[in-house]
Amino acid sequence: MRYIDDYRDGLLMKELVGEIRKISVSPVVLMEVCGSHTMAIHKFGIQSLLPPAIRLVSGPGCPVCVSSMGFVDKAIALSRMDHAITVTYGDLIRVPGSESSLEKERSNGSDIRIIYSLLEALVIAKNNPEHPVIFPAIGFETTAPATAAVVKKAAKEEIHNFFVLSAHKIMSPVLKALVDGPLKIDGFLAPGHVSAITGSSIYQELADKYGRCVVISGFEPVDIFQSIRMLINQVNSRQPRVEIEYSRVVKPEGNPAARRIMNEVFEPADEIWRGFGNIPLSGLKFRKEYDRFDAEKIFPVKVPEFHEPAGCRCGEVLRGMIDPTACSLFAVSCTPDNPIGACMISSEGTCAAYYKYRKLT
């Protein structure tokens, strides 16, 4: 397929790996901060082709994995309301709250529908005017503008039965929390599609103030090898900066129109992240002008305090502190068929990627 096949060229990858081997001189830790990067790295066995001095670790880039259990509990409580219709992206449906999941609620009779585009939710809302249609929203800057655009459309079309439970998050505060943390990260493989919206400036502080190397990367293996090569060159030159490898999609200024829509509907607010706890101003909540769409305000529910399942080390995995194999539950009691932690449940979670592709790496 156009813009995919060229970036899976074996010969080109071999050359890039050769270049990386040549320039790799000292041990470095590189973190990828996007679930799609995690999947690509494991699927294509990228770590196994790198010299041992280069260690790739996964970060908190899977929105399902970093969503707090309290958020899932709220979504479940709302799905149990009389006449409620819950619409959700497929990623969220299996994630357990403290005692259930949306999938279990659906088999118990709740009306829970999987959508691909949020615009489908407006059609459902129009066709069911007596039913509150509730969307538990997760995702970073890639996804949040779409939510905002649909909220604006609902406002314009005077749809009064569409509501959003927002757990949208933004990328830069969690990156700062990571560099303030105990793991020494030399460089970041920055998320390509988040950056398509935000542009490259959100990473500038990481380079200028914290001395970390940053390369915004595409998702095909040639992209990832090229980005690793650019990162190693940055580390070797001792000149940390922000570079764009994924230049066919990411512009330095990002997509200002999408950001404008996102910022018109949402404003930054404190947000709980699994594995990190509260990170100031890392979430997106409704601005006053749009609070009639805010499910949290319209349908206030109390949920129990959040506890990780016993023995689950998801939190440490999300901060890059341990590999999934260091967790005693991994591949023993916690498997994709019987997941315990969020990192195994999401198809792009680090534990799921390790489990699925472990023979390759």
Binding site: L11, E15, P63, T143, H193, A196, S247, R248, I261, S346
Partner: protein, 74 residues
Amino acid sequence: MCLAIPAKVHQVNGDSALVSIGNVEYKASLLLLKDVKEGDYIMLHAGFAIEKVDKKEAARMLALFREIEDSKTT
């Protein structure tokens, strides 16, 4: 979650466009991206076009990559 795939634009109709991904056709929303034309490639995420694929930049980067390859073989 932040997955986006390249799709070719066939027809623009106001706020939406008919696009294809391989042999699959889809009606993509253009609420987040303006100035889309027939023949463009867009990145499609959860039903929305979030950015255009810059054809020149794609060709330039690939040519750069190929240079490494060529410098080895010649």
